[in-house]
């Protein structure tokens, strides 16, 4: 669902330098000047490896830390306008709650703070809890819940007041595969209700299946932003070539292909632009071509290309 009435989030040159060092005398740029806008009704993925500045961006948007420069507007209003927060839901990274409360009490507390109509409150709380599948644990003290259950409570508190814009900082972390699918479904459901979703993640497959658009961030700097399909087109594709005849291996290796032989069957992956040369080489070596298939580019490819090889280990881990 893509509506472009007005941007839900408009970020203009927003930046943040943290004071570090013992005397706060050193500056660390957590976020370099960032310009970005998220349309209403979008599911927007905010990608980046650890330390990229995702959480920093969210904290700036929510007024938890103050920007070193730049401006941002949420739902068309200034960041300092506290009334706009009635329409925002937020799931912090590794959420922690008052562990003396039960999920029901906690959500009731948050609903009060968000100014939910007292007559609606009980229903809102129950609905939110049901949507994350936590109704059964509604009366267990939070300190007795597992990490994944807490994450669900966290999502429930982000939607208990029926916000228009939901900001989620790594909503999938700590969830088992079933939980992750449930959250994906929930995000889609919320989006279908017309809510704008902005979530940060470094799990790329989730972003790929869910997002209309994504932004990629690295070391505090925006590396690219756009519709997922468009971004993928930018990464040059690769092809997989399979043939019979080990003799051709050396010729193709010379072209730069990575070859794996299984008996007489050889499989090589090489950039699309080298395909012609590869086919020529096979012909010259009298190899029998079995098949040529394009390798589907993924967000991960884009991500790796943008973020650079040195980060790959951390991100894919």
């Amino acid at each position: 669902m893509l509506a472009t009435l007005m941007p839900a989030i408009e970020i203009h040159g927003l930046e943040k330098s943290y004071k570090t060092g013992f005397f706060g005398n050193k500056l660390k740029q957590g976020l370099k000047p960032l310009t970005l806008s998220v349309e209403e009704g979008e599911v927007f993925g905010y990608l980046g490896p650890n330390g990229a500045g995702k959480t920093t961006t969210l904290k700036l948007l929510l007024g938890l830390v103050f920007p070193s420069g730049g401006t941002a507007r949420i739902l068309g209003r200034d960041l300092n306008d506290i009334e706009v927060k009635r329409f925002i839901g937020f799931l912090p990274e590794q959420p922690y709650f008052y562990d003396h409360l039960t999920p029901l009490e906690l959500l009731d507390y948050y609903a009060r703070l968000s100014g939910v109509d007292p007559r609606e409150r009980k229903r809102s709380v129950d609905t939110a809890l049901a949507r994350v599948g936590m109704t059964a644990s509604g009366k267990t003290q939070l300190r007795k819940l597992s990490k994944g259950m807490l994450q669900r409570v966290g999502i429930a508190q982000a939607i208990v007041h029926n916000p228009k814009l939901v900001l989620l900082d790594e909503p999938m972390s700590g969830l088992d595969p079933i939980g992750r699918r449930e959250v994906r479904d929930l995000v889609q459901e919320l989006n279908e209700e017309g809510k704008t979703i902005f979530f940060s993640t470094h799990i790329l497959s989730d972003a790929e299946t869910l997002c209309d658009r994504v932004a990629v961030l690295n070391k505090g700097e925006l590396k690219g932003v756009g519709v997922v399909a468009d971004l993928l087109r930018q990464v040059s594709g690769e092809v997989e070539v399979v043939w019979q005849g080990a003799k051709a291996i050396s010729a193709l290796s010379a072209l730069g292909a990575r070859c794996h032989a299984t008996g007489d069957t050889v499989r090589a992956v090489l950039p699309e632009r080298l395909l012609e040369a590869a086919l020529d080489a096979l012909r010259v070596n009298h190899a029998r071509l079995t098949r040529v298939t394009p390798v589907q580019a993924t967000l991960e490819d884009y991500f790796l290309a943008r973020v650079g090889e040195e980060k790959s280990a951390e991100v894919t881990a």
Binding site: L64, V65, K85, F90, P92, Y96, R112, L113
Partner: protein, 259 residues
């Protein structure tokens, strides 16, 4: 605004009430009140004096320990545990509302504690002097002053909690309490100096929380009446000074980046 402040206060109260440490402290205070009965038995003539001194000191001391103990964590713990994110980030809660709510919640908690401890104390007094008399109204004044002490110390702990870790906050709070207890003597010290030091010391001594005038335990133990004017002035003072401490807390907290 009011709903949000009450919600925060209520949650703070609930958190404190569900903490087991609190009950241990109250129990301990009541034990001391009880034990003063035994001490009183030994020295016949002064049983009521001993009971009043020991009992009121216990109520004052344990309340202050609780106030500091919980107060120092009021803000810093929420920052550290990041529970604050879910309150301030995406809710229409102003930071000063948060501070006020937290403060009121803890004051409520202490009020209830004081009621519990005072009930035990009055029961002991009634036991010793075979019933309560008109003269025991002075004891109510002393307890009222103790409550005022709680309010001050809570606001102090809260202030420290907005910029410092719980450990340091507790040290600061206890130190300020100790200094405040000797505030009158400090002003005396200042009088003995001269020149610039005198000015500086006098200023500092007047700015310290004036806990000295809030302790009338030994007076009421000896059945001397507390002047009504002092009750009025102390009430006003605590209100004004607490407001100042809360303003300072808000001032600091408004500018704080929440890590």
């Amino acid at each position: 605004m009011i709903e949000r402040i009450t919600a925060i206060a209520r949650n703070t109260f609930r958190e404190a009430v569900r903490d087991r440490v609190l009950y241990n402290l109250i129990l301990f205070a009541l034990l001391i009140v009880g034990s003063s009965l035994l001490v009183g038995q030994i020295s016949v003539a002064v049983d009521r004096i001993v009971l009043v001194n020991l009992g009121l000191t216990a109520i004052s001391f344990f309340g202050i320990v609780i106030a500091i103990f919980i107060g120092i964590g009021l803000v810093s713990k929420e920052i550290e545990k990041r529970t604050l994110y879910t309150v301030l980030a995406a809710r229409p809660v102003r930071r000063w509302e948060f501070i006020t709510g937290k403060f009121l919640g803890l004051v409520m908690t202490l009020l209830v504690n004081a009621l519990a401890m005072s009930a035990g104390f009055f029961a002991a007094v009634a036991f010793v002097s075979h019933g309560l008399g008109h003269g025991d109204l002075q004891l109510v004044t002393a307890i009222y002053f103790i409550l005022l002490q709680y309010v001050l110390i809570t606001a102090l702990a809260l202030l420290f909690s907005t910029f410092s870790s719980p450990l340091f906050s507790s040290i600061f709070a206890f130190a300020t309490f100790a200094i405040g207890t000797f505030a009158e003597d400090l002003r005396g010290f200042a009088q003995m100096a001269s020149g610039l030091p005198r000015w500086l010391m006098t200023g500092a001594a007047y700015l310290m929380p004036n806990f000295a005038a809030l302790n009338v335990i030994s007076e009421v133990a000896h059945n001397t009446a507390v002047q009504p004017r002092l009750i009025l002035l102390n009430t006003l003072y605590v209100l004004v000074y607490t407001a100042a401490l809360l303003t300072a807390s808000v001032w600091i907290f408004e500018r704080r980046n929440l890590k």
